[in-house]
Symmetry: C2
């Protein structure tokens, strides 16, 4: 039986509320998903400032969190309505809304008097009331009740949607690069995932400082430069890149300070050459990790890129040259969308919960057991 579901996601970067309208057939291993429409709804400036205050231990307080929880409920409702309007889809026919909410705090490891916990806000009662649709929300808390870290939750959807009769890897290129390995017709226990190294964060930072742009759009600057082999070799010798998984990359390591040192030492290179070289560093760190820790176990046929880096054409071209035996694809080649990926994930997780299916991946969150995620807020009208 097919269901129409909206998935809602607002990340910590506050670059808008993602809303994906999808058609889902079946559930569990039989799940089939088709993206119908996607929008990114702006967060008004005043509210963005209040959310930023909610993130801060110094500036947050109970009154603000109480109020912003409801304000976000209204904003999420708007996003759900708009994605349906854009698709010309009658919201009354919607079966479910899956709302991730806005994470305002996350304590994945207890410390002092603080216990394992997480806090997502965006009141589901408001969303259910304003839209007239059943809402599934608060996915992360149940994984943490089961002693997991509450994140990442996306691997389960990746398993459902990308597992195939081919050996596939999903390579996400966000700030950090991370790979999920999905062998031919694998089980949930056979999938594994690890960080490959930097994603866009060094490229973005260098581009910002030398070109005044937020990121290297389409890989244009990198395409104008030449890779400096000496610098590339130095970068590739970083211990982390060659270490065996399991490994997670600290965002701290490849951050602002890393770029300070890089730019000071290599100030003889042109901006384009520098950008080309750090772009190649991301591509090569991915390729080397595949050769050392994936290809030795599975002959990979397909690499499916996601995240902002999948829109960097120079990076994609470099990766294809480094991995000639693989077919390199982006989300769009499969009818999905990198932008919409997380919102789609929460539509799928909502459908799993509504069908009584557990949807955390123990190998991803470290939870003690598989559990059904989230609360259900019913349509508030008595029949």
């Amino acid at each position: 039986m097919e269901k129409y579901v909206v998935g809602l996601m607002s990340g910590t970067s506050l670059d808008g509320v993602d809303a994906a309208l999808v058609k889902i057939e079946g559930f569990g291993e039989e799940t089939k998903v088709q993206l119908i429409e996607f929008i990114n709804e702006d967060i008004p400036m005043d509210l963005k400032r209040e959310i930023l205050d909610c993130f801060s231990v110094e500036r947050s307080n109970v009154e603000l969190i109480c109020s912003v929880n409801f304000k976000l409920g209204y904003l999420f409702s708007e996003a759900a309505k708009k994605v349906c309007q854009k698709a010309n889809f009658d919201i009354k026919k919607l079966d479910l809304i899956g709302s991730h909410g806005q994470t305002v705090y996350h304590i994945p490891v207890p410390y002092k008097n603080m216990v394992l916990s997480t806090l997502q806000i965006g009141e589901p009662s408001v969303i259910a009331y304003e839209t007239g649709v059943t809402v599934v929300s608060n996915f992360r808390t149940m994984d943490m009740a089961a002693k997991g870290q509450g994140a990442p939750l996306v691997p389960y959807t990746e398993y459902l949607l990308y597992r195939s009769d081919k050996n596939r890897v999903l390579q996400n290129i966000g700030g950090i690069g991370n790979v999920t390995v999905l062998p031919t017709n694998c089980t949930l226990d056979q999938m594994y995932a690890f960080d490959t190294g930097p994603g866009n964060m060094i490229i973005d930072e260098v581009t910002k400082r030398l070109k005044g742009q937020k990121y290297d759009k389409g890989g244009y600057f990198a395409s104008q430069g030449k890779v400096n082999e000496e610098l590339l070799n130095e970068l590739m010798s970083i211990e982390y890149i060659n270490a065996a998984p399991p490994k997670t990359t600290g965002r701290e390591f490849f951050g602002s300070q890393f770029v300070d040192v890089l730019l000071e030492k290599w100030n003889n290179l042109s901006a384009e050459d520098l950008i080309a070289t750090v772009t190649m560093f991301t591509a090569k760190s991915i390729a080397v990790n595949y050769r050392n820790y994936v290809f030795n176990r599975y002959p990979i046929n397909e690499v499916i890129l996601g995240g902002g880096g999948s829109y960097n054409n120079t990076l994609v071209k470099m990766l294809q040259e480094l991995l000639p035996e693989c077919k390199i694809m982006i989300q769009e080649d499969l009818g999905y969308s990198s932008d919409a990926k997380e919102a789609i994930a929460f539509a799928v997780l909502a459908n799993e919960t509504a069908n009584g299916m557990a949807s955390n991946v123990l190998g991803a969150t470290g939870a003690k057991e598989r559990v059904i995620l989230g609360n259900i807020t019913p349509v508030p009208y008595q029949r």
Copy 2:
């Protein structure tokens, strides 16, 4: 079909977590409830201090709220387990837990940049995981989504449990006195409620100052004194007491400053006489309000007392003398318990939500429409 449900309540006074195990038959107008067991679980001192910090705009922050939300989830789970243990009832046979949560903030009227909202914490995922029972929680938010004040929610349960073939009033004597009028076989729209004046708050404050006790246990001090008619007449002339409903009593009015003035002016009276007089003031303010605003519409047969004041025997005796035509009863006479009343209410509200029934009372909260209250957190184990 009968269901076993635990209701959990923790009030803003932080005098422990109330847990009531009840057997419920039917739902809606057919609801029958039997109290099986009740406990009040202490809140550990450290946690109490953290909750008090959560109440405060100055001392609260997002990290603390995130952590305390989970800590309260564990405490509520313990309370649910203990009330079942005490009743020798296998928690696996429990159908539902209704958890009010701990209100940490409530904005019933918008102001500045704050919207109509409320915040109850005590993570339901933790309760569902730890007990293995479906949890209904967060009752107040949906009423506020429907533009209600989110409180009071108890009138609906009062309607279900106390409506009868008699003309009844429910008189709650907490800090403030308030009456709910339930005419013979009334509908939800026919019930009405208003504040009668002070409940225990003047009695408690005078007893504390003159006798060093938290309250006049069983009405002992009052029973040793003599009512001073002059003081009583002065108190009864307060405009509020004789005003027509709708009316709500500000707790502020009968608070600490009120007692300051009282004790200074009447310092010639003995402690016992003063306590007897303010006890009679509560009784007489109730009786006068009935004569003026209830008996003129319905000949009342039964007065059912609730709240701490129902355990003040002197107060009850005075009330019986002032209302000789009514049968005065306490919750216990009906097989209920004043202590357990609110916890029972949230067990009943959980059962209503699980059965798809709306359970706010428009005349009580001011909501625009009747709505199903709360989120449902399913048992987290896939079948």
